[in-house]
């Protein structure tokens, strides 16, 4: 099958209107209650459409950035509806209220939709069965469903869903449809082929970058090199002389949501938006050429001398303060327990700012026509985008139509809509559809970035090496302050403790404390794959090994002991030890390092084998075990772990964002280097069988990768890497 938003269908699909049976959430119930939506003309876009010819269309509320939601969410519907996924068409939802939250983020897609989407499928199935039973005048138990048909068990007669849909649409909606048991699943729970893959090997998959509209103009933007700032003056003479250039315009970049106020401790008015200059042209190439000919002088608004070095110094200084305490990690009296300890261990860990650098740079095509707005864009959350555009343009939400394309990667970057608002601003100014494409330089130099963090760790041991006290002080930027303008001076950023709270990190320390000291990064920061778990777990899991070394314990044994009351963690560690042959005697210079973390409701442990070389260290193999609850498509779960290994190792040994004199030092992939073919270790991945509720899959593989590597490097060389990234070849 071809994905429904392959080239030809992409624009046409939006006109689908002849629904016969359509079930959806009504717009006032905000996704809480399933209602019947009767027939053509009703203003509700449901999750399941079946028309009389039998064509089934499933509406997918979670945009795909490579993590596999394009398949998994419709499969939840299809499983309960009893129709193979390759017989249906998949359409992405458009951001309207009736679909509830549509943000792909926080590895939440399946976790939040596991029951609601299956219920939607089961509801429609029961109505179709009832219609068939009525027609055959048999009881419900005489009917079965399979592959888009209702079957009369006595006569073996068959009716297709298309034949029943009209009758079914007049029936009452069952309030408690019966969901399948795990044993009854025919599609969920086994390796399956993703329906978007064929279109991604022949060039027909449509990404935001590929949208073409009649009369469309192309735009490129010169942003402030200081990210924030105003245009002092500019000269467009040379740029306007480039053939094809139609406009050179002042535009802006709006930073995220929320009211602008100065009450949260920083100068929000200066940071709410930045000015920019755009070239709008008949071709993208001419826009790019003209961009380079613009002469602009900037007012940095006080951000002209900011630097990451200075930020990290501030964060290290802040680490001397006790910080605002997290309640979800508090056990006993840390200070007292530390005082009573025989040995005290300290370690300060540093993780850098990071750019997401998805392969597809940010881009958006927008057409603003009076009070009507249509968007085609690679975005993680069409519903949030509708909100943002509505506020920004002063247009009613229902007048904004969003067409979600495939995303060429996102990793959090496309969860905010600054680039879409820019395209909207330009379309409004030039009165034509505008496709705005950020360059890779825009992508890497403009942020928002993952916050760089300082983790100050302290631990106390008794004479036998038992851990008595454990403290993790987070020091750095708050994403909540950046995105939602929250005041973080007196409270710990509630998101920033992820991966190390008691639920995610159930180490049985007799006394424990996590806290947060806010430091202003003076640049926009944002979620980056696995967010704070990526920075927190690096420090936490490295420090566990430091405590093991100090207390002369084996790192696995220490973890097994401290996690003795967390059976799932123990099972994952034991499986990891088994597949990695952890206890095997290794030759001199070869070591195995491990790490385990829970994030986004899934547990992942990695073991990395490294070998000391004449110069540096080589990664030989990565072993991984993931427990993400019921594994819906085990092959995709493996793929996501593979992906996290590569993304996480790149962040550990290659790339970082640094800024000096107010500007980002890196610009493109020669400076923001990433791992390539030939630099990737072989991997062995085990997916734990489980019948628990599904957990996240797109991110949990990342947090434990860097500490597993650093733990292995320490065991092989005696050198403890506390600052990322580090150079493997020069250890």
């Amino acid at each position: 099958m071809k994905p429904s938003n392959s080239r030809r269908d992409f624009l046409r699909i939006s006109t689908t209107s002849a629904f016969v049976l359509a079930l959806g959430f009504s717009s006032d119930s905000r996704g809480k209650q399933l209602q019947k939506v009767n027939a053509a003309g009703v203003q509700i876009n449901p999750y399941i459409n079946i028309n009389e010819s039998g064509k089934v269309t499933l509406f997918n509320p979670r945009p795909d950035m490579g993590q596999g939601t394009y398949q998994i969410l419709p499969m939840l519907l299809a499983e309960e509806l009893d129709i193979p996924l390759d017989q249906v068409e998949i359409q992405m939802t458009d951001g309207s209220d009736r679909f509830g939250s549509q943000l792909s983020g926080g590895s939440s897609s399946v976790r939040t939709r596991w029951i609601p989407l299956r219920t939607a499928g089961a509801t429609v199935r029961e109505m179709l069965v009832q219609a068939a039973a009525n027609r055959w005048k048999v009881s419900l138990s005489d009917c079965a469903t399979k592959d888009g048909f209702v079957i009369n068990k006595q006569t073996q007669a068959k009716l297709s869903y298309g034949e029943l849909v009209e009758e079914a649409s007049h029936l009452p909606v069952p309030t408690k449809p019966k969901l399948k048991s795990f044993a009854e699943f025919t599609q969920l729970g086994k390796p399956s082929m993703r329906p978007d893959v064929p279109a991604k090997v022949d060039g027909t998959a449509i990404f935001g970058m590929d949208v073409q509209l009649p009369g469309m103009l192309y735009a490129s933007i010169v942003h402030s090199p200081y990210i924030y700032g105003k245009v002092q003056s500019y000269d467009a003479t040379k740029a306007m002389a480039v053939k094809g250039v139609r406009f050179v315009l002042k535009t802006e970049r709006v930073f995220f949501h929320g009211p602008y106020s100065d009450s949260n401790g920083f100068d929000q008015k200066l940071r709410g938006k930045a000015e920019a200059i755009a070239v709008v042209s008949e071709s993208y190439w001419s826009a790019l050429k003209a961009k380079k000919l613009l002469q602009i002088s900037w007012n940095a608004l006080g951000f002209g001398e900011t630097a990451t070095e200075q930020y990290f110094n501030q964060a290290k200084a802040a680490a001397l303060n006790e910080g605002n305490e997290y309640k979800d990690a508090k056990v006993g009296d840390f200070a007292k327990a530390l005082q009573l300890s025989d040995y005290k261990v300290q370690g300060t860990y540093q993780t850098p700012f990071m750019s997401h650098a998805p392969m597809e740079p940010c881009n958006a095509t927008v057409f603003v026509q009076g009070d009507q707005v249509e968007v085609w864009a690679p975005i993680q959350g069409p519903d949030g985008l509708v909100n943002d555009l509505s506020t920004y343009l002063g247009v009613k939400r229902e007048n904004i139509k969003v067409n979600v394309t495939f995303m060429g990667g996102a990793f959090g970057r496309k969860a905010v809509s600054d680039f879409v608002m820019q395209a909207a601003n330009l379309s409004k100014q030039v009165n034509a559809p505008v496709k705005l494409i950020w360059t890779r330089e825009d992508d890497i130099q403009q942020g928002p970035y993952r916050p760089g963090m300082i983790s100050a760790m302290q631990g106390g041991l008794d004479k036998d090496g038992n851990v008595l006290a454990f403290e993790h002080r987070l020091n750095g930027a708050s994403i909540m302050a950046s995105v939602f303008k929250a005041d973080m001076r007196k409270n710990p950023d509630p998101w920033a403790g992820e991966g190390i709270n008691l639920e995610d990190s159930p180490y049985a320390f007799p006394a424990r404390r996590n806290s947060f000291n806010w430091v202003d990064p003076q640049m926009p920061v944002l979620w980056w794959r696995s967010v704070y778990a990526s920075t927190n777990v690096f420090a936490q899991e490295s420090f566990i090994d430091e405590l093991a070394a100090e207390g002369e314990k084996d790192p696995l044994d220490l973890r097994l002991h401290l996690l003795r009351d967390a059976p799932k963690f123990v099972a994952v560690l034991n499986k990891l030890a088994e597949i990695s042959d952890y206890r095997a005697k290794r030759k001199q210079g070869v070591s195995i390092g491990i790490s385990i973390a829970r994030s986004f409701a899934s547990i992942v442990a990695h073991a990395i084998v490294v070998e000391k070389q004449n110069a540096g260290v080589k990664i030989k193999h990565v072993y991984s075990v993931i427990d993400c609850g019921f594994p819906i498509n085990p092959d995709n779960i493996k793929a996501q772990v593979e992906s996290n290994i590569v993304y996480g190792l790149s962040a550990a040994v290659c790339n970082q964002i640094t800024r000096s004199h107010g500007k980002t030092d890196q610009s493109n992939f020669h400076e923001y280097t990433v791992l390539r073919q030939g630099e990737i270790p072989a991997s062995t991945i085990f997916v734990m069988p489980s019948q628990d509720e599904p957990g996240g899959v797109g991110e949990p593989g990342l947090p434990p990768i860097a500490p597993a590597l650093c733990n292995a490097v320490f065991l092989a060389t005696g050198k403890r890497e506390r600052t990322l990234p580090f150079d493997l070849s020069s250890i």
Binding site: V201, S283, M359, E360, A639, F669, S683
Partner: protein, 159 residues
């Protein structure tokens, strides 16, 4: 602006563009094959890879004026009629693509490798594919898929 004659996917095209326009934008925005992607614009990532007379080139860094009408340019859309090139089939079997954005370039680079080296070693693969970044990290599956495509091609030759 000047007129250039190009042969893309066996079809002749006349395009009217500036001489310095990179082939990438001609293919995507003028001719309309959008399978070839923009990733860096500096020859660093390989997302824009196309084949020029069978060899992979970075179309973002190839001005249209450097091409002759007789040059054979192949994009992902022209690699096979119905995605039946052994590399494409192996890619589907191994479920290589994640976001998919880099994959046109990866597949073309892999097909060029196999055309010149029907039985590549891991090291050959490393060298041939090093110019193509995949931020989703599908490298391990690509390696497996290249090996299995090589086998497919050899079996097809024997029979």
């Amino acid at each position: 602006m000047s007129i250039y004659q190009l042969t893309v996917n066996k079809k002749k095209h006349r395009v009217d563009v500036d001489s310095d326009t990179p082939l990438l934008w001609v293919i995507r925005d003028v001719i309309g094959y959008t399978g070839t992607k923009f990733g860096c614009g500096m020859g660093l990532c390989g997302a824009c890879t196309v084949l020029l007379n069978g060899s992979p080139i970075r179309s973002c860094s190839t001005p249209v004026s450097t091409l002759k009408a007789t040059d054979k340019i192949t994009t992902i859309e022209g690699l096979s009629e119905k995605a039946t090139h052994p590399v494409q089939e192996a890619w589907v079997e191994a479920q290589v693509p994640q976001c998919g954005y880099c994959q046109s370039g990866q597949i073309l680079a892999a097909s060029a490798l196999l055309a010149s080296n029907p039985n590549p070693t891991d090291e050959d693969i490393d060298n041939a594919m090093a110019g193509n970044i995949c931020r989703c990290g599908t490298y391990t599956r690509m390696r497996q898929a290249i090996h299995s495509a090589a086998k497919k091609i050899q079996t097809a030759k024997k029979s």
